[in-house]
Each structure stands twice: as C-alpha cells, then as structure tokens.
C-alpha cells in the first residue's frame, strides 16, 4: 500500500541551528501539505502546495521557515534559525486532487519529531 514517506523521524538540534525535513508524497498526488503539531494540540497547516506552486502559506512563519516542492513531487521544509518554540511534530500529508470540492482524503506520513534544545 502506498504511503507518505518522511525523514528523518526524529531530529534534535540546538537553537539557532538550521534543520530540514523531507517528504515524499504518494505517487500521483498533486497536493502536498505540511502541518505542525505541538504537543497536546491538533495539527495546524503551515503550507499547502498544488504541484510545485504554493496555494496557502498564510500560517508559515516566513522569517524563519521556508518550503519548496521544486519538481512537484517531494518537498522540503526548512527552519533557520530554529527556536525553542519550534519543538513539535511536523506532519506531511498528500491528496490526489485539488480544488474539486470533493472529500479528497488526505493521507499522512509518520511525521518528524523535532526537539530544539
């Protein structure tokens, strides 16, 4: 069964360092999402891609976060510099379609758990 892949699964870094997370969506899925899940809370959308284009990055802290999906397939989320408050689970999800208004199920990866010391 096809799954969303993420790496690394765990990352520990010191504040002010740079970190990067990678996501490979299910093959053929046009839409890719990055969510941040702080401990004890539900996931919140950081950025949404349709193919290689950003559709929604309104909640992305652009002074330190960046995201790209250059060829419309896999994606990288970067944080530079990392802050203590960035400690969280970073989830990637993908869905087949975009803009159809259908239920368009989102499939989630296992996440990257980031700890900033």
């Amino acid at each position: 069964e096809a799954e969303v892949a993420q790496s690394p699964r765990y990352k520990i870094t010191e504040k002010s360092q740079a970190v990067a997370f990678w996501c490979d969506p299910i093959s053929g899925h046009a839409t890719l999402y990055w969510y941040r899940q702080i401990l004890g809370q539900g996931p919140e959308l950081l950025v949404q891609f349709q193919d290689e284009s950003v559709v929604d990055d309104s909640q992305l802290p652009k002074d330190r976060f960046s995201a790209e999906r250059l060829k419309g397939v896999d994606s990288t989320l970067k944080i530079q510099p990392a802050e203590l408050g960035d400690s969280a689970m970073y989830l990637c999800a993908s869905s087949l379609d975009f803009g159809t208004g259908g239920s368009n199920e989102q499939f989630f990866g296992p996440g990257t758990r980031l700890t900033v010391l």
């Binding site: 969303v4 869905s95 975009f98 368009n104 199920e105 296992p110």
Partner: protein, 116 residues
C-alpha cells in the same frame, strides 16, 4: 474562521464496550466536510470516518459511526465493541468544500484508552 472543539482530553472504555467521543465546531458555511482521524502512538494519522454536511444520514464504517447534528454543530464518534487496537489519539477535523481551501482544521484531540 472555523474552529473545532474537543472537550474530552482523555477517555477510557472497557474492551468490547461502546464509547462516544464528542466534537463541536463553529462555522458560517452551510456545506462542509467533517472527519475523525485516529493517531496511534508513533504511527501515522489515518482517516476513520467522514461526513458530508449536506447528507442527513449519519456515516458508518464497520464499528465506527457518527452522530451528526448540523443545527447544534455537533459531530460525535461512537466506537462499538471497542478493541485494544482502538487505543489512540482521536482528532475531529473540519474542511470547507470551497475549491482551493483544502486545509483541515483540527480539534485538540481525545486520548482513548482501552481497558482489557
């Protein structure tokens, strides 16, 4: 903006019994989707069940069913014949049907424990 509220941080149920998880939401839209997602420990989040707001009939998936009360903006999940594998965090989520607004808005989750 839409909000989703789960007022039960933790629930427990005896194996083989039935449990209901609560969810309320706030929206000004008339049509939307509601979902329940399950997040087992150290595993990815998976979709349990979905409900289209324009459908009056409550969705059912095997042992999982929902009680959708549109006027009350309530969307509870009932798990029948609870099994040990049902232990997980459960998140209620909202999604607009407006094309292009695909993001999920999640509640804070309910941790479900199954007692053998």
């Amino acid at each position: 903006a839409q909000t989703v509220t789960q007022s039960q941080p933790e629930m427990s149920v005896q194996e083989a019994e039935t449990v209901t998880l609560s969810c309320t939401y706030d929206t000004s839209e008339s049509d939307y989707y509601l979902f329940w997602y399950k997040q087992p420990p150290s595993r990815q989040m998976i979709l349990v069940i979905r409900q289209e707001a324009y459908k009056q009939q409550n969705a059912t998936e095997n042992r999982f069913s929902v009680n959708f009360q549109k006027a009350a903006k309530s969307f509870s999940l009932k798990i029948s014949d609870s099994q040990l594998g049902d232990a997980a965090m459960y998140f209620c989520a909202y999604r607009s049907v407006r094309g292009g607004n695909e993001k999920l808005t999640f509640g804070t989750g309910t941790r479900l424990t199954i007692i053998p």
